[in-house]
Symmetry: C2
Subunit: 341 residues, 2 copies
């Protein structure tokens, strides 16, 4: 018969277990941001989390107040050479013309159907908006969701030939997780379509639909012939979630001022300003795309090439310096860009 | 020296502890809704929770999809003889006239200043809306929040002479907790002002501001003379969260169809319809105020007195019967109404 272990032996075993568990935790805590190089950007994030979650710190933020907002295009995932949602809209044009054949010879649909990429890229904003309105409205919210879901599963980007959902920045995914692990509720605040981003936000970012604020149109409650109600997407703008529309959208949808905000372009300026204008610890960060080799390089801040897609002008860079916002250099601050690397 | 306890003794102690813990849990599980009488309404709630959280049930709802929406006035708290928010607006009139003395002799402000309750109650809707616009807009969102917070702390209702925040229905508080304990995310979807309800929603209902959908106005991002940004409340409606506005607001702010919805009046009809039109298990419930003694009695369904504040017409009652919505009789289904009873 084996001798019965004593309480002392059990206690030793428990202590050993605790040691193993704590050891594992300590190791995980060593670097919550492994894809970041050590530098001022990473340090700013870690310092912010440490001081806002330390109960003894004057900058402690109660868990219920921990709100962090993230722009999407160019901040959480690739937005060049063209926004994914615009790709979606262009891809919908053939189907649209099938339903409405009279559009076949009407501009700008004719140009899109031609497949001439350079001509498409030259379309003026007004004509592009016409394509967006024609492909993003006029259907039920359920039909739109199904359409986007199907597209996002099969569409590939033109450079890496991967699903767009693979093109999220690994360092930013780590920031999302790090903030959530520290009690922050993470929100997307995007100039892109709210209904579009909500389709994949949970899968891609772990952010549920109700935590996605975006450009939103009016919907109208109607009934089909069986009396079943549905919501139809109307071609009428309700919230333009860009520039001043970002803090306005944050107030509408979240109702609280963020403690941390991340963006990459001039459309995020007011969101960062609004965030920083709150008292206590506030973190404001901008991703600068200065890595043509691993991703793209555009500004025109810092002498980088100018762009029409998510511009980061010198004035924004200067405001960042003046206002204590951190600029994240993709080239210097990020050890790797994508999870698939 | 005391003898060292053996492993067997430790095991017995642990088993005893487990028994105590499980016993306590079993008891708590006995009745998650102690303020409800046994009846079809209570049974409908319990059956819904059981079947949507049981993984082996065909009606199982994954945790991420568990969305429940609640109207506020007349569903979660007392709304008679007049909505609390209207009381707030009337109470603000003297302060408003101090700032804008020319309003002193202008209707409807003159009548409100007279304090003549009957005359105030007779004000036509158009004049009431004028008071609402004058007292709910034109200030910063921060100033408005502070004003509501101060008012809600000191205001008393005219019947029980208690803070309005005491006048929440204990049975509905139990439903909120019961659903949350079972993985449901609870939202308020109110015809009342979103900015108003968000001030106290977390304290009173455990529902954070971002989970309050309500009637909302446009805000505008501006700067004060020091260059500090703020949001000003504009007298322009963005979302009328009543009737068809409820499913439209749910889509805008939540982006998913609820699995359970609770209301009490004709303004909630479309929210319940929209909820029930989803597949799988869907719960739709209406509170009928048929208890003049303990609260108020109004319909005009069921021969109850008619009202302008949260009417429950016979047509709504008939739709409830036809569509499988449950009607909660305050008189018969609720053992007690308020926590302070």
């Amino acid at each position: 018969m084996k001798p019965m272990p004593t309480l002392a032996a059990v206690t030793r075993l428990l202590a050993l277990g605790a040691l193993l568990i704590c050891g594992a935790r300590a190791q995980a805590a060593t670097d919550p941001l492994p894809s970041w190089n050590d530098g001022p950007a990473k340090q700013a994030i870690v310092a912010f989390v440490n001081e806002t979650t330390d109960q003894t710190s004057a900058k402690f933020v109660p868990p219920a107040e921990r709100i962090a907002t993230f722009d999407q295009d160019g901040t959480l995932w690739v937005s060049h050479p063209i926004y994914s949602q615009v790709m979606y809209c262009l891809d919908q044009v053939p189907k649209l013309v099938e339903k409405k054949p009279h559009l076949k010879n009407v501009e700008p649909f004719k140009t899109v159907l031609s497949g001439d990429r350079e001509a498409i890229a030259r379309l003026p904003m007004k004509e592009l908006e016409e394509i967006l309105a024609a492909t993003l409205t006029g259907m039920s919210t359920d039909a739109f969701q199904a359409e986007v879901k199907a597209w996002i599963a099969k569409a590939r980007d033109p450079r890496w030939h991967r699903p767009f959902t693979d093109l999220t920045y690994q360092p930013m995914q780590e920031v999302l997780h790090y903030l959530r692990d520290n009690g922050y509720k993470t929100f997307i605040v995007t100039g892109g379509g709210q209904d579009f981003v909500r389709v994949y936000s949970n899968t891609v970012y772990g952010i549920p639909p109700e935590q996605v604020v975006g450009t939103a149109g009016v919907t109208k409650y109607e009934y089909d012939q069986d009396g079943t109600p549905f919501l139809i997407k109307e071609p009428k703008l309700l919230l333009n979630d860009n520039n001043a529309g970002k803090p306005e959208g944050i107030h509408l949808m979240i109702g609280r001022r963020p403690h941390a905000a991340f963006g990459n372009s001039t459309g995020d300026r007011q969101m960062l300003e609004y965030t920083k204008a709150g008292d206590g610890a506030r973190l404001a960060m901008l991703v600068l795309h200065d890595d043509a080799e691993r991703e793209y390089a555009y500004g025109p801040a810092h002498g980088l090439p100018d762009t029409k897609v998510g511009a980061f002008p010198q004035a924004l860079y200067d405001e960042a310096q003046k206002s204590g916002w951190s600029v994240i250099s993709m080239k210097n601050d990020w050890k790797r860009i994508f999870a698939f690397e």
